[in-house]
Subunit: 298 residues, 2 copies
DNA sequence: GCTATTTTTAGACTATCGGTATAAAATACT
DNA sequence: AGTATTTTATACCGATAGTCTAAAAATAGC
C-alpha cells in the first residue's frame, strides 16, 4: 500500500478511535495527518471510503492474529476459540468500531453497508465452523444457529455490562460465560431438532438489497466512472485500463450488452489490476456486473 | 399534548420511518408538516429533542399494549410473554428504531443517549421480572442474565435473518425459538450456579457517565437555561415558574448551595409543572440536581 | 543533473445542514 | 376591539463534505 495512503489511514484511524467516526471531520484528519485536502481526495472518494479502508485493514489484522493463536493447537481447544473470538471483540472495542458498525446502518452509503454486511457474514461463517470443530461434530446442522446466538449473547452481555459500570471486563470472561450457556443449548437442540437457520442461510451476494436492474446498472456505471477517474489520475499512462473501462461503460449502456464480451473484458480488467490498490474494488465491480447480467437475461 | 406539537411529531415520525433519522433533514420535517422553521424550534430545541419525544411516545404506546395483552391472563402464560416481547420488536421494526437506537451512540447528545440507555434499562428490568414470573421462581437469582441473553439472541437472530432475505418473519417465531433455547440455559444455570449479573446490576441513575461535578453543574445550568427560555416563550405570564428557575440558577452557582432550599424549590417546580408538556424534563432536572448535591456533599 | 511528469499543497468555492434571529402576518384571548 | 401569542417567511451564521484550480514541491526517467 502506498505510504501516503497508509499515513492518512493511520491518522484517521487514531481519530476515529479517539473521537468516533461521526465526530471526526475531514479537516481533523487533514490536520492529524498533516496533509492537504487534495491529497486526501486523491486516495479516498469520501470519508466513508476511508473508513472502509480502515475496516478492511483491521479485519486483516484480526484474521492474522487468529491464525497465529490457532497455530500448533488442536482444533477442538475451547480456550483457543474463546481467545479467537476475543480478538475481534477487543479490536472492535479498542477501535470503537461497534459504534461505527451500527451507526452506518442509517447512512445511505451502499458500499459501506455492503462491506459491513459481508464482514459480518464472514464472521458468522467462521464462527459456525469453529463451533462444529470445538463441540460435538454432530451439532453441525445447528451450528449457524449456535454462532448467531453466541454472538448475540456475547455482544449483549458486554453492552449491558457497560450500562452498569465503566470498569473494563476481559472479553474472554464474557465469552467464556456465554459459551458455557451455549453448551446446554447445543445438547438440547440436538434432542429437539428444532432449527432456525439452515447452514446455507447466509448469502454470499454482494448487494442483494438492489433488485432493480436499472438501479443496479446505474450503480455499476458510477463505480466505473470513479474507477476511471482514479486510473486517469494515478497511474502512469496505462491506456489499456482506460480502454477496458470505456468499453465496459459503452457496452453496458447498449440495449443488449454482450455477455461474453463483458466477461472477457472483466477478466482482463481483473488481471491488469492484480495486486494493485484497486484489486478489491475491481473484483467487486466484476461481481456486480455478473449479477446484473444474470438479472437482465432472466 | 399541544395539537401543533403532535402534528410535528407525526410528520417527523413518518419521515424517520421512511428515510431514517440521519437522512431526514429539518427542512424535510418542515415541508412534511407544512410549518415554518420557527414553529418547529418553538416546540423542540433540536432535531434530537424531537426524536426523543417520538421515542417516549412510542414507548408509552408499547407499554400500553403490553398491559392490555396481559389483562385477564395468568402471569406465567408463556404465549403472553412472547407476544409482549414481540410488541416492542414490532414497533421498533415498524419504526426502524433499532437503527436509531444504535446510530445515536456516536452522537454527542448526552440527553438522547441517556434516554435510550434508560429505556434499555427499563426494558431489561421488565423482562427479567417477567421471566421469573413465567419460569420457575427459583431462577430469580439469574433472571437478569436470562433477560440479557434472551434479548441478545432475539435481536441477533432477527438481524441475521435480514442478512439472508428481505422476507418478513413474525417476531413471535423468533422470540419463541430463542425462548426455547433459554429453557435449558435456565435449568443448567440453576445447577452450575454460575452467575454473570447480580440482579441489582442495573443502575437507575440518570447519567452515570458524568462523574465530574463541575461538568454536571454545567449541564444542569444549561438545562435550566433551556427551560427558562421555553417558559418565557410559551406560558402565559407565570412569574412563579420563572422565579423558581432563576433562584435555582443563582443558588447552584453559590459556593455552598443550600440543599434544603434546592430541595424545596425543586418540589415546588415539579408541582407547578405537573401534567404540563415539561413534566418529564423537570423531573429529570430534579434528579440531576439531587445527584449533583450528593456529589458535592461527598 | 536536468527535465518532464506526478503528487501535493493551499485555498477559494459550492451546497447542505442545524440552528438563530427578526419582523410581519395570522390567530387566540378577554 | 384591542392585546398577547403563535406562526410564518426569510435572512443569516458557522460547520461540514466535497470540488476545483493553479502553483509549488517531489520524484521519476534519461
Amino acid at each position: 500500500m502506498n505510504a501516503k495512503k497508509k499515513q492518512i489511514i493511520d491518522a484517521a484511524h487514531r481519530l476515529f478511535i479517539e473521537k468516533g467516526f461521526a465526530l471526526t471531520s475531514i479537516q481533523d484528519i487533514l490536520d492529524e495527518a498533516g496533509i492537504a485536502k487534495g491529497t486526501f481526495y486523491n486516495y479516498f472518494a469520501s470519508k466513508n471510503e476511508c473508513l472502509m479502508a480502515i475496516l478492511e485493514f483491521v479485519k486483516e489484522e484480526g484474521d492474522q492474529k487468529r491464525k497465529e493463536l490457532a497455530h500448533g493447537k488442536l482444533k477442538d481447544n475451547e480456550k483457543v476459540l474463546v481467545a479467537q473470538i476475543a480478538i475481534r471483540m477487543n479490536i472492535n472495542r479498542k477501535h470503537s468500531i461497534m459504534a461505527v458498525f451500527e451507526s452506518v446502518s442509517v447512512s445511505d452509503d451502499t458500499d459501506l453497508k455492503t462491506l459491513l454486511k459481508n464482514q459480518h457474514i464472514e464472521e458468522l461463517k467462521w464462527l459456525s465452523t469453529r463451533i462444529t470443530e470445538v463441540f460435538r461434530f454432530e451439532n453441525r446442522r445447528y451450528s449457524l444457529d449456535h454462532a448467531v446466538m453466541l454472538l448475540g449473547m456475547v455482544h449483549h452481555l458486554m453492552h449491558v455490562w457497560k450500562l452498569g459500570t465503566s470498569k473494563e471486563i476481559a472479553s474472554e470472561e464474557v465469552i467464556q460465560f456465554a459459551l458455557n450457556r451455549l453448551k446446554p443449548i447445543i445438547e438440547e437442540q440436538m434432542q429437539s431438532k428444532e432449527v432456525f437457520f439452515q447452514n446455507d442461510w447466509l448469502p454470499m451476494s454482494i448487494d442483494p438489497s438492489v433488485t432493480d436492474s436499472t438501479e443496479m446498472k446505474k450503480k455499476v456505471l458510477v463505480k466505473l466512472e470513479r474507477l476511471d477517474k482514479k486510473v486517469g489520475k494515478m497511474e502512469r499512462i496505462d491506456q489499456k485500463k482506460s480502454d477496458y473501462i470505456k468499453f465496459l461503460q459503452d457496452e453496458l449502456q447498449a440495449e443488449w450488452p454482450r455477455t461474453f464480451l463483458l466477461e472477457s473484458v472483466l477478466m482482463s480488467l481483473s488481471h491488469v489490476f492484480e495486486q494493485s490498490d484497486y484489486e478489491h474494488e475491481v473484483n467487486q465491480l466484476s461481481k456486480m456486473v455478473w449479477q446484473l447480467m444474470e438479472q437482465i437475461e432472466a
